[in-house]
Amino acid sequence: MTSLLEVENLRVDFPTEDGVITAVRGVSYTLERGEALGIVGESGSGKSVTSLAILGLLPRTARVSGSVRFEGSELLGRSDNELSSYRGRHIAMIFQDPLASLNPVYTIGDQIIEAVLAHRDVGKDAARRRALELLDIVGIPHAAQRMHNYPHEMSGGMKQRVVIAIAMANDPDVIIADEPTTALDVTVQAQVLEALEAAREATGAALVLITHDLGVIAGHADRLCVMYAGRLVEQGTVEEVFYTPRMPYTLGLLGSLPRIDARTHERLTPIVGAPPSLLDLPSGCPFRPRCPLAQPICAAEEPALFGVGKGHSAACHFHEKLINAAAREIFQ
């Protein structure tokens, strides 16, 4: 049986003035119907570019190769018009910045109705009723009045709910949410995530949740992919990866997270250094310069994803060393 969404060996290059930047270097993952997959990484790790590539929304200069299959049919290489019948209908997307995602010159009602009518041949009245229903699901009070508001008349959290309503307008099979709460106040983040859950429940869609916030992943995802410098470096169920990370980077990420079950005097352990420039990747494993376990072999050879458990794989030459290791011990 084919998976709902299969990404295979995806590679994205951007030619720039300073040379070709390879933002995504061979990423593969699958998404099953109804599943919630989290993708974690620092900015520049290629997590957003991966999802934009799936929908063909990258700038024209981008060169994309590999394979993206939705229900078994290939999406890469299709014309923009063909892809537009998938966008919103089968795969919907929620972007990071709700402040900029809505067109300032149209009312939010118009923008939701437009999304409904993009894939459904229903009358304007039916579309309006659907829009009201959607606003209700994402928890916008006084939906009928709110329909006539312009984006600038709403708060960031409200706008992001509108964007979520737009994403679920056509009962998509997949919703890709790219850092949906990053630009928002901490206080409204939970509400927006709640709206996202409501949208999933109403549509039964699978979710790809892109974030740098492991806390969000823990609460909302079943499986987890960790990205670093354009590659997957670890993937597995949230449970497996959280409790037995097998890649130093993941371990570091978890170590820099405050934990409620930690002993009181345990200090957070940050990862030293910054992610490498994509223009000038170090040889071998890209995490090597920041890695406390680095050995000569790490400079010579970039590790592949090794299977380390059931559905759990990690890209580290020393993944075995990491069994039951604590971040504090590795990153002193």
């Binding site: 003035e17 030293v272 250094g273 910054a274 490498p276 420039s277 170090p282 090597r288 310069p289 920041r290």
Partner: protein, 296 residues
Amino acid sequence: MSETKERPGMGEIKERTQFQIVRTRFLRHRLAVGSLIAFGLIVLIAYGGAALWKYSHTDITPDNSQPPSLAHPFGTDSIGHDGLAQVLRGMQQSIKIALLVALIATGVGTAWGAVAGYFGRHVDNLLMRLADLVIILPAIAVAAAMAAVGGGSWWSIALIIGSLASASVSRVIRGVVLSLREQDFIEAAKALGASDLRIITRHLVPNALGPLIVNATILVAVGILAETALSFLGFGVRTPDISLGLLINQAEGAVNTRPWLFYFPGVFIILIALTINFIGDGLRDAFDPRQTRMRR
């Protein structure tokens, strides 16, 4: 000022100053670099060429109304003036005026806009209404009226055009200053007790340098187009002196019979303004890379 720093995992990275970054970006802009060289050559020809050429712009040769030839590459007019000598002199005057226009407009406009933006409130209101006074009137009409009164010399024309142009410069600089004013380093300077003058001259103006330089460059092109238009109308540079605009004015009646007198000065105005605009474009890209992506 370049130093090397060791960062974990990053190898050696050269930290570059703003100037070096801008220079590198500018040098990558081939059209702008070519234009800079071309403009340099034009200036060199205007001044050096005039000194070397066998005729001066006041010489009256026995050949009148001659089409371009080896003896007179740009032909001669009906009196017998050598066309090349006249165009070279016209270029000198026009370039001189245009550069002075840019200098005056930038200087006056920067002070104007910086003071308005920095002090805000009533000062801002007053100074910007003053800019409105200038901006609501067609500049060429005001310049013509002013030049008819106090014009004549090349520097008075530059002064008139430059001060009129400073009004729009002041608006640009005010905008930049307004956005800078709220930033932390200005607050910090204030907290440390720096005087207003010091904050404006040491913190605001240097940080507005990018837009300032780009604007000044574009103003050279604005200056040459304004001066030649004014001279064409008869209110700018006047006979016996020469500007490119005046040459075109004198050639207007004889475009059919002596086309060389019309085309050569025009082509040089276009060349000067075009190269300046390309240089300005390159500088804009160099100072503001974000805009580059947007604009091209």
